[in-house]
Symmetry: C2
Subunit: 353 residues, 2 copies
């Protein structure tokens, strides 16, 4: 028996500890019970704290990830429709597998629902989820249903590496470039629209809605990054700065990004005065953020069918924060902790000096 009394938890609410603090609590609790000399621990390649867990199997690396969407926290049934909800619940998990460069294969669906919902709505939800699953060759093999006062959806995806390698958060090193796929800010702009920002053009409104509710995970792109020799990646779910900070924390490095180089989506630039904030901190873009040497990044630009933009560097420089944002004259832009952290009011706190 381990001495559990050795860990003293001061009186504190979950809201004070925050999401990342809570993850650390689970990780440290797990670490105390680990027995590194035995299976399955000795097979673990990536444990708590990356986009997906990874372990060595017979001939390849197994991947598993899970994500929960809670009604009125992650979605509002007055805004999102059931078709969109089914899509998004699976897409956010597929994106975690994409961030590991893996192949998603099997999914489990756990569904907690109020009894007064219409069966037709649940049918729309599952059909949309199955549709996306099929796009990526994923089989929904099981799950669980339960009654609940509000809708809670948990999707788990199990996948594997394509070859012998996976993308991790912890392998960035000094001198590497930082790059991102696609354009940023569209999903957060969609959220602003749902919160009341008027968008009169229905076509633009549709683009924003789709970006926020039906993101297309970069599964194929993640696999291509590995083929081209990239080792480090994350998907942008919490926001560019927050997710780059996750890479820096895991890799024990610093990063600087040039704000003018961040590829803000033109629809966002044209319609939202706070477009830089949306692109830097908005989150839920589900693009891939990755680091590699210059030659490797150049190869990914050739290999990928989507835009790849270099936005900064991993550096050994002493900087005020792990992730530092600069303008074109290398002036540091004050940028409070941004990104989307549950429990704490950390959303859109970024201030531009």
């Amino acid at each position: 028996m381990l001495n559990k009394a050795s860990v003293i938890i001061p009186p504190m609410k979950v809201s004070e500890l925050g999401e990342f603090g809570l993850i650390n609590l689970i990780r440290s609790s797990s670490a105390r019970y680990e027995n590194s000399g035995r299976t399955p621990w000795q097979e673990i390649l990536v444990g708590i704290g990356d986009d997906a867990a990874a372990w060595q199997s017979d001939n390849h690396i197994q991947l598993a990830t899970t994500d929960t969407l809670v009604q009125d926290i992650h979605f509002d049934l007055d805004v999102i429709n059931w078709d969109e909800l089914g899509w998004k619940a699976l897409a956010v998990n597929l994106s975690d597998i994409a961030a590991m460069g893996g192949i998603p294969k099997y999914a489990l669906l756990s569904l907690a629902l109020p009894g007064e919902l219409e069966v037709e709505d649940i049918s729309r939800f599952t059909n949309s989820m199955m549709h996306l699953a099929r796009e990526f060759g994923v089989a929904i093999v099981g799950g669980n249903v339960a009654t609940a006062p509000n809708v809670v959806i948990t999707v788990t995806i199990i996948g594997c590496s394509k070859g012998k390698a996976i993308l991790k958060r912890s392998t960035a090193s000094s001198g590497e470039q930082i790059a991102v796929t696609g354009y940023l800010g569209l999903s957060a702009a969609g959220l602003e629209m749902f919160k009341g920002k008027t968008i009169s053009d229905p076509e633009i409104s549709n683009i924003l809605r789709r970006a926020h509710f039906k993101p297309m995970p970069r599964v194929k792109e993640g696999q291509i990054l590995i083929e081209q020799g990239v080792k480090t990646a994350i998907d942008i779910s919490d926001g560019l700065i927050a997710d780059l900070d996750h890479i820096c924390e895991s890799s024990k490095v610093n990063a600087k990004i040039k704000i003018e180089q961040v590829p803000v989506h033109p629809v966002v630039t044209a319609n939202f005065p706070n477009h830089q904030e949306l692109a830097l901190c908005g989150g839920e873009d589900y693009e891939l953020l990755f680091t590699a040497d210059e030659a490797t990044i150049a190869r990914t630009k050739q290999a990928l069918n989507c835009p790849v933009t270099v936005i900064g560097d991993i550096t050994e420089e002493k900087l005020p924060t792990r992730v530092t944002v600069m303008d074109s004259k290398e002036n540091i832009i004050s940028c409070k902790k941004g990104g989307w952290e549950h429990f704490k009011n950390g959303v859109f706190e970024v201030k531009f000096a």
Copy 2:
């Protein structure tokens, strides 16, 4: 594209469809998107509708299962403590792997929590879960935390077969005996105690509390069943009759059980006048219910370190229900659909004629 319009859903509430109807809806939605000629579908051995999903991997069979516990539906924080909750959330999933005869290996924890909870409570929860995980050599490799108005816990376990076989629900055949490990009714008796039934002996009260909140999944026993040649099993989570009915439905057979042979726990017999009802329909015993020929069952009695009781037979006889309960004189005991089905009021509906 498949023609989704071909499936017409009549106006109906989720509560009218019921838990098993909802599972069928998901299964049929999945089936319409399956492409049986391609991976991963061709590798699936057991899909939606067993205790765990199973698919063929390189050298063995992979297993995955998930279960969600929702506050005020599955547990009441005024009754269960956090230590017990952490244990139970993992135990119910381990039991699903046990029912497949598998080895549990990796777990993912998805935790939705109100911010006002105490961190110390969550620490108790995770420590207890890790403790049980370690008992069975399971590594908690990842998961997810989110804020929510009520506590929702989803645990996913990924495991594998010990050899080349697994236990299924769908392989029972006529002429086989039906057997059960351990004693039944203790967990349901515990629930009755929490609902107000007075138990004055603190030792008995402790036994009931432990049975209901800290069940010990029959993981090792499931593996031994396979070694002895058993092919068909389920864990008793919904209740003996309901779970036997799941076997019968999957295997397209009928079953008859002798009520006097059902091993009611002596504590339940001594303290609860409705002990037979609790043992037949109470659920959450997490014992293993299995079928096999007489010689195989005899071997399991030798090999297992727990009681094994033969309670009836799989039969080709025409019987009034898929599962028929009889007394010692082969009089049929009227027994309405029992067991624990969400959404519908199917709990403890069994009537003894």
